[in-house]
């Protein structure tokens, strides 16, 4: 069994990260009734005897004493991290595994990447090494940050290069929150574009999410829950937006609900690696199956169901509905329409009481309406994990490597060009040491090259591809 370390950077990254740890604790508490520290828990948590002074010596077996998250928290302002450390999760975090500053990055990627990067390089390396040392077999870093700000975007992507150099064999999975079109940070296009170049070059896998989509999903849930039609039947705790006990009270803000969706995404992604099932899927299989070419590593995700009806006798039709919904554009975590674009590869990760025949039936059913690239006509990766998420009898995570990410990138480039042409706010960036105009032009080229790759694949949609003749052998 392997371990993963979560690195949460910036305000967004830390808020999502916080929700993640909350839900992870709840999930393990539900599954692990005996309070024994097992391998599943060890993937994200250390077992520590806090009575022992010093490093908090890790205990590898036996009863759970005190669980410490395998996390590193980074923010260039103190507000968010302090709130976390004073909140109900304070004991879960190792107080030494965080880096904060006071001044913040001012929504400036260059500040986050160049200034804070060089300032905190040694420190962050030390924290990361410490985290790695506490792991038996470290498999993956999960980095969470937003694209539009300064710290998450700048420092978060700076970290990618550090991780690549220092831990080349460990996967780097990035959960990146892309700015919506009504984003209120003026410089978000600059920050996002500059960050994209880093993601292109140094991330193994990126799971893009955007606030608009998350918001739409919450609205959908709210509509159902409050409409009264199904209201009383909806199980509490079963909303994909539900937080655990710790955060129940603060649920008024939409951001909490949105963050919970992303947190659930990460939990689901790792479920088959942590828990047993009849067809396991480890994290290294995600990259192997879903990344056919190194640069094309952006995966569109959708998580189902959004809520569970309290009626326990869920007929197969509802199970199948879950599969159908997973492919609809309304349920993706970014603004994307996979059904009308081209699939390079698709993974279906199922949890709970679902068997191989259910999976196959749905694949057969949905396949005709989906377009797959010519060389991967049956490009499905599947996994079955026996342990369902809290509050559900089954759930599904669909990960698609699909050209439907293209519009997001094209729009990003357009918004960037609109600002850049006017040189608006550019001086804030150029005055930072190490920043030149070439940084911007290179970033644009990088994104354009990526878009071009998707374009070429899309072009194959309508044109039948000539197959290369097979080898002929003399008998």
């Amino acid at each position: 069994m392997t371990q993963s370390v979560v690195v949460q950077v910036g305000q967004c990254g830390n808020q999502i990260g916080c929700c993640f740890w909350d839900l992870a604790l709840r999930e393990h508490a539900t599954v692990n009734q005996k309070g024994i520290y097992d391998e599943a828990i060890s993937s994200f948590f250390r077992n520590v005897d806090t009575r022992v002074v010093g490093d908090g010596s890790s205990i590898s077996k036996g009863i759970i004493r005190s669980l410490k998250a395998r996390a590193v928290l980074v923010d260039m302002e103190e507000g968010v991290v302090n709130e976390i450390l004073q909140g109900p999760l304070r004991d879960v975090f190792d107080s030494k595994q965080l880096i904060t500053d006071i001044s913040g990055s001012g929504n400036n990627w260059a500040m986050g990447h160049k200034v804070f990067g060089s300032l905190y390089r040694e420190q962050i390396l030390e924290k990361l090494r410490k985290s790695a040392e506490h792991c038996d077999c470290l498999q993956c870093f999960f980095i969470i940050h937003s694209m539009g700000g300064g710290t998450g975007s700048g420092f978060g992507t700076f970290l990618l290069k550090v991780l690549e150099d220092e831990f080349p064999e460990v996967y780097r999975f990035v959960t990146a929150v892309y700015p919506s079109s009504e984003d209120d940070v003026i410089t978000s296009p600059y920050n996002s574009l500059l960050a994209m170049k880093e993601l292109n070059e140094h991330a193994d896998c990126v799971l893009p999410v955007d606030n608009q989509s998350l918001f739409d999903i919450i609205s959908k849930i709210d509509l159902v829950v409050s409409s009264g039609k199904l209201g009383p039947l909806v199980k509490p705790d079963s909303l994909v937006t539900s937080g655990a006990r710790a955060f129940k009270k603060q649920h008024k803000k939409p951001f909490d609900a949105m963050n919970n969706i992303v947190a659930n995404l990460l939990l689901h992604l790792t479920s088959s690696a942590r828990f047993e099932g009849s067809l396991n899927m480890d994290l290294n299989e995600i990259s192997m199956n879903l990344v056919p070419f190194p640069q094309l590593h952006y995966l569109v995700s959708s998580l189902m169901p959004l809520y569970t009806l309290a009626d326990v006798n869920i007929p197969p039709r509802r199970l199948d509905q879950m599969f159908s919904d997973a492919f609809s554009k309304d349920h993706q975590l970014i603004q994307a329409d996979p059904k009308h674009s081209l699939y390079l590869a698709c993974a279906l990760m199922v949890r709970g009481n679902v068997q191989i025949s259910d999976l196959r039936r749905n694949i057969e059913r949905l396949k005709p309406s989906l377009q797959f690239v010519s060389w991967n006509q049956e490009g499905w990766k599947t996994s079955l994990c026996s342990v369902p998420p809290v509050g559900h009898s089954h759930s599904l995570l669909a990960l698609a490597n699909n050209t439907c990410v293209k519009p997001t990138f094209i729009e990003l480039r357009e918004r960037f060009m609109r600002l850049y042409k006017k040189k608006a706010h550019l001086h804030h960036y150029l005055q930072v040491e190490g920043m030149e105009e070439s940084c911007f032009t290179e970033a644009v080229s990088s994104l354009s090259a990526l878009i071009e790759e998707y374009d070429q694949l899309d072009a194959t949609k309508s044109v039948p591809v000539e197959s290369v003749p097979r080898l002929s052998v003399a008998v």
Partner: protein, 452 residues
């Protein structure tokens, strides 16, 4: 003589458990429909072949290998909990991180790294056999450990135990993916095994799935269901059968006999299994079969490429003698009729000696260069298998896998032409030439089978 089983990866280990369970349960079965003495001899033979004893508890002669611990832990505890039989206490090898569905990782990284530890484990198990018949290696083709590490280990077994036979039980994945790179992993596995294994016993997930759906009437089919059907089929092949001396005397060299009967030529190593009847436990008491009926169906299943006894195409008939050879006949005819290289029919149950096997000795079933006298063999025992009054199994080296192999090579080739995913393999030392070598070998195999 004993067989040592090596269970590899999630698939290999999950199936392996079901196989040992099926073998054991059958050996304990009280409805043997034969004399006590007969039953005793059968049981003793099965036990010696697949189990050894430690403090009165039967221990499976198996080595469990996986690169991550979850599945092995589960199988070890399942066996221990059954109270019937167990796996050896230290007979497993585990690592922390799996092979990531990457054949190259299983073959080039895990293989060399853990070669010594795994071979040591196998050696320990071999030493506990009075005499070793050979190895039965259970693995999937689609994943990373079973396929890649499996290919590597089979080669090691070839080098270290050159006198022992090796049969690889390989699982052909569902056509619509379980793993996206399954075609790559499959062709790499097949080409390597073709060089180092003695015989490949193939089971297709799609076929077994249909059996579960149509014959067993299972509504929500799980992998456990698939594995149990598979285990049943394997049991019907590997449980003891009479040696030349007949009643109460059981064959001592099953693997050797299998190879001798079914693999007359190294170019043709792919064996398929058909088993009849196969039904849910509820239906069993209400059915009665005659040998004539069973064998008629089994024969038709053989010649018409049927995977199970439902939906058999009775139109397919062998070509009449005197007509031009198959190659010149109409295309549809050629594709529908399954030409065999060699066949083995295994009969278990009541009045087994009265069964008429003439249908299988028809020369029209076989390729021109090997007549039925050499190509066909039959094994028998009166002792019934898992409570079926009469049951028949067919192990066939024929064109069963021509189409599936052709399909997999074609799909892998298309993907290879686009270079998709290749970087994942070259990262660990499997280069494009290795792929090309595999393609070349397999196109050769396809051509050979096509021209049978």
């Amino acid at each position: 003589m004993s067989i040592v089983t090596v269970q590899l990866g999630q698939c290999g280990n999950q199936i392996g458990f079901e196989v040992f369970d099926a073998l054991f349960t059958d050996s304990q079965c009280s409805q043997g429909l034969c004399s006590k003495r007969e039953n005793g001899a059968y049981q003793a033979s099965c036990r010696e072949r697949f189990f050894r004893e430690e403090n009165g508890v039967p221990i499976a002669r198996a080595v469990l290998v996986d690169m991550e611990p979850k599945v092995i832990n589960h199988m070890l505890s399942k066996a221990a909990q059954s109270g019937q039989w167990k796996y050896g206490q230290h007979a497993y090898f585990c690592q922390k991180q799996g092979s990531g569905n990457n054949w190259a990782y299983g073959y080039s990284v895990h293989g060399p790294k853990h070669k010594e530890s795994i071979m040591n484990l196998i050696q320990k198990e071999v030493e506990k056999c009075d005499s070793l018949n050979g190895f039965f290696i259970i693995m999937s083709m689609a994943g990373g450990t079973g396929s890649g590490l499996g290919a590597f280990l089979t080669q090691q077994l070839q080098d270290h135990y050159s006198n022992a036979l090796k049969m690889n039980q390989i699982i052909w994945p569902y056509g619509t993916g379980e793993v996206i790179v399954q075609n790559y992993n499959s062709i790499l596995t097949l080409s390597h095994l073709y060089r180092s294994s003695d015989a490949l016993l193939v089971h297709e997930n799609d076929a077994i799935h249909k059996i579960c759906a149509k014959l067993m009437n299972i509504k929500q089919i799980s992998f456990r269901d698939l594995n149990q059907v598979l285990a049943h089929q394997l049991g019907s092949v590997f449980q003891p059968t009479y040696s030349g001396e007949g009643s109460c005397h059981y064959r001592r060299n099953p693997l050797g006999d299998l190879m001798e009967n079914l693999v007359p030529h190294p170019e043709f190593k792919m064996l398929g299994v058909r088993n009849i009847p196969q039904m849910s436990e509820n239906s069993l008491p209400y059915s009665a079969f005659t040998w004539a009926g069973l064998l008629k169906h089994l024969r038709q299943m053989l010649i018409s490429h049927a995977k199970m006894e439902e939906g058999i195409d009775w139109q397919v008939q062998p070509p009449l003698p005197g007509l031009p050879p198959l190659g010149k006949m109409s295309l549809t005819r050629e594709q529908r009729f399954n030409t065999s290289l060699a066949n083995l029919v295994i009969l278990r149950g009541r009045d087994v000696q009265s069964a008429n096997l003439e249908g299988f000795k028809d020369p029209a079933l076989y390729t021109s260069w090997l007549g039925p006298a050499e190509a066909f063999s039959a094994w028998k025992t009166q002792r019934a298998f898992t409570g079926y009054e009469r049951s028949a199994a067919l192990v066939s080296n024929s064109q069963f896998f021509l189409k599936p192999l052709d399909r997999i090579v074609g799909k892998a080739w298309d993907m290879f032409a686009s270079k998709a995913y290749i970087h994942q393999y070259t990262k660990f030392g499997i280069e494009e030439e290795d792929f090309l070598d595999s393609f070349t070998l397999l196109e050769q195999v396809v051509a050979s089978y096509r021209n049978l």
